[in-house]
Symmetry: C2
Subunit: 363 residues, 2 copies
């Protein structure tokens, strides 16, 4: 099997490494930056370097376009134009509809099937490539009515062999869901960070940032180049999401101005239901419970707890750690799946001498 990687960053490099190690594939790469190609060759992510897109795609079974989202329409078209009848072309961009539209008019369109691995979105650079980057990760594929069944089958198998979990989805549906789940939280994080910077600069004595603020702004400003592109590529859908959020925010201004506690409590309870419903749907095995504990913030304390849980075979689904103002103490939240597991975890942590509370309704 021969695979071309067009654009050799974190994702392209990791496809190369995984294809070589797991499938014994021959990997040829092209990138506008010669230094990147040399690095990739040195890491073993590529077997050979091509001088152009057309040279890279020749005689390949699959060609992956791994350029920034805004460069994909031109790159995919070039890859299709220069490759033969048996070459399937895919991409790894974070948005899918615009690219599907751009390809839909091309004669070679049936040989293209869009893709989007949910991995590595927040790191970059070929030097961070790993053969196991896609292990267990969702990898969306967006075939259309015109798509070749042979290409889809080959692409699907290839991705599964990389260790990922392929799932076919309509391009528009993909973009809508990603707008809600990923792009919108990024927009909101930016706005919160901007607002806080504004308010707190004026404050003479400013409170430390609490956990809710840190959580809410964790992704603020990540990778401006990449994210500017993603926002733009999904601009129309994301703008709709933003406007829907604006509407929902408007709806709460009234009860806030009227200081209507009961109505605000009802609104808060509804949100609890929404979040729990979303989390439960993610985990048919059991609802996620939050254990909250306060500990000394010394090196080793997280280890002690995680180790004890590990020994007992209890898996930590999510973890969040928040230091106190002076850094000496910290609140740890652990999310455990299922009532029984959570009860076991609680007992184990209690036996270590930490007091632990199970948070209900607000996880």
């Amino acid at each position: 099997m021969k695979v071309a990687v067009l654009g050799v960053g974190l994702i392209g490099g990791s496809i190369g490494l995984a294809a070589g190690e797991r499938l014994g594939a021959e990997v040829v790469g092209f990138d506008p930056d010669p230094g990147t190609l040399e690095t990739a060759l040195g890491l073993g992510a590529l077997d050979s370097i091509a001088g152009s897109v057309s040279e890279a795609v020749a005689e390949t079974d699959l060609a992956f376009c791994a350029a920034p989202v805004s460069a994909l329409p031109a790159l995919v078209a070039e890859a299709l134009r220069h490759s033969g009848e048996r070459t399937g072309v895919s991409d790894v961009g974070s948005t899918k509809q615009a690219l599907a539209d751009a390809v839909s008019d091309l004669d070679q369109g049936p040989r293209f099937i869009g893709g989007h691995p949910l991995a590595g979105a927040e790191t970059s650079g070929v030097e961070n490539s790993r053969a196991d980057l896609f292990e267990g990760a969702r990898w969306f594929l967006t075939p259309t009515e015109r798509s070749s069944g042979i290409v889809f089958d080959r692409l699907h198998s290839f991705i599964a062999e990389l260790g990922a979990q392929p799932l076919a989805i309509d391009p528009a549906e993909h973009d809508r869901a990603m707008a809600t789940i990923s792009h919108l939280p990024h927009v909101i994080a930016n706005v919160l960070a901007a607002r806080a910077a504004e308010t707190l600069v004026a404050a003479e004595r400013r409170p430390e940032l609490g956990r809710s603020f840190r959580d809410a702004t964790r992704v603020a400003g990540s990778n401006p180049g990449i994210w500017g592109d993603i926002f733009a590529a999904n601009g129309a859908v994301l703008a709709d999401e933003v406007e829907s959020v604006i509407e929902k925010l408007r709806a709460v201004v009234g009860p806030l101005r009227e200081a209507d506690g009961p109505q605000l409590a009802t609104w808060q309870a509804a949100a609890a239901g929404y979040r729990q419903g979303l989390l439960d749907a993610d985990r048919p095995g059991g609802a996620l419970l939050e254990l909250r504990l306060a500990v000394e913030n010394r090196p080793g304390v997280v280890a002690e707890i995680a180790l004890a849980l590990g020994r007992a075979g209890v898996n930590i689904e999510e973890m969040s750690l928040d230091p106190s103002s002076d850094g000496r103490a910290g609140a740890i939240s652990l999310w455990i799946s299922g009532d029984d597991e959570a009860a076991r975890a609680s007992a184990i942590i209690g036996a270590l001498g930490h007091s632990v509370a199970t948070v209900t309704g607000g996880a």
Copy 2:
């Protein structure tokens, strides 16, 4: 020293435990729920139970009102009315201006100084009380021009002896800052959860919730009763915050609809600057760096990493763990303070066989 606790939940109970253990104070409690009082007595959070507010506050040095925010004006007034000249009265509510206004007309107003410990906001119940709940935690005090210096001095010392870090702040400034840092992220989390529930219910094939969504909605719907109250008590200020966010969201709709990548990238870069600036101000010791690693999501893996860092004396300031779709792998982010510490941590994790990337600009 004799202390009254009026309202014996998590905070009231913890004040009682800490005052008893650390200061050898005599603690008397009142709560409308007799069962709660019995529990608190059994836990040692109280030395005795009073049958009324007036009985509880008699002969005390300090009385803490630890009721829901909406009940505080009446409770504080009652505590002031029934206590003697030498009793200082405080509270532990999450908002301060409305209460300060309510007390400002009272003859006994100078004996009241508002307070707000940043601890335990998301758990509740006297059964979760701990003597170390306030260890290292910020505890705001909101004296006004009328406040008694003697009461302030006594309250300040008492809080410091509980292990907390008292800091005086203007009530309005407190409420404004908390609106931005805490209340607004809660409102936003609710709206995001509501929007996602709407969108994803319609989706035939829905992507798993990613880390950015989980982080952004972690506090959605927490403690509806308590939060309905807090939102209402800080309603006017919070409504201003929400409207400011609406304005900022409106400003990004244009560039999104125009799919203006470069402008969106500039906007994203500005957000990165805001967030880093806020985090750096929190940690004069050194900027926070994010190390990102992908690991097998098996019990014990977090322990292994945390333990190795602990042995080397490297402190984990924050941690976030995100499972892959199939739960077999997970991305871990560790935030380490300062370049040197982060480099050491990176080397230690690398030596364990995990590949690790330092994320720049987006922490």
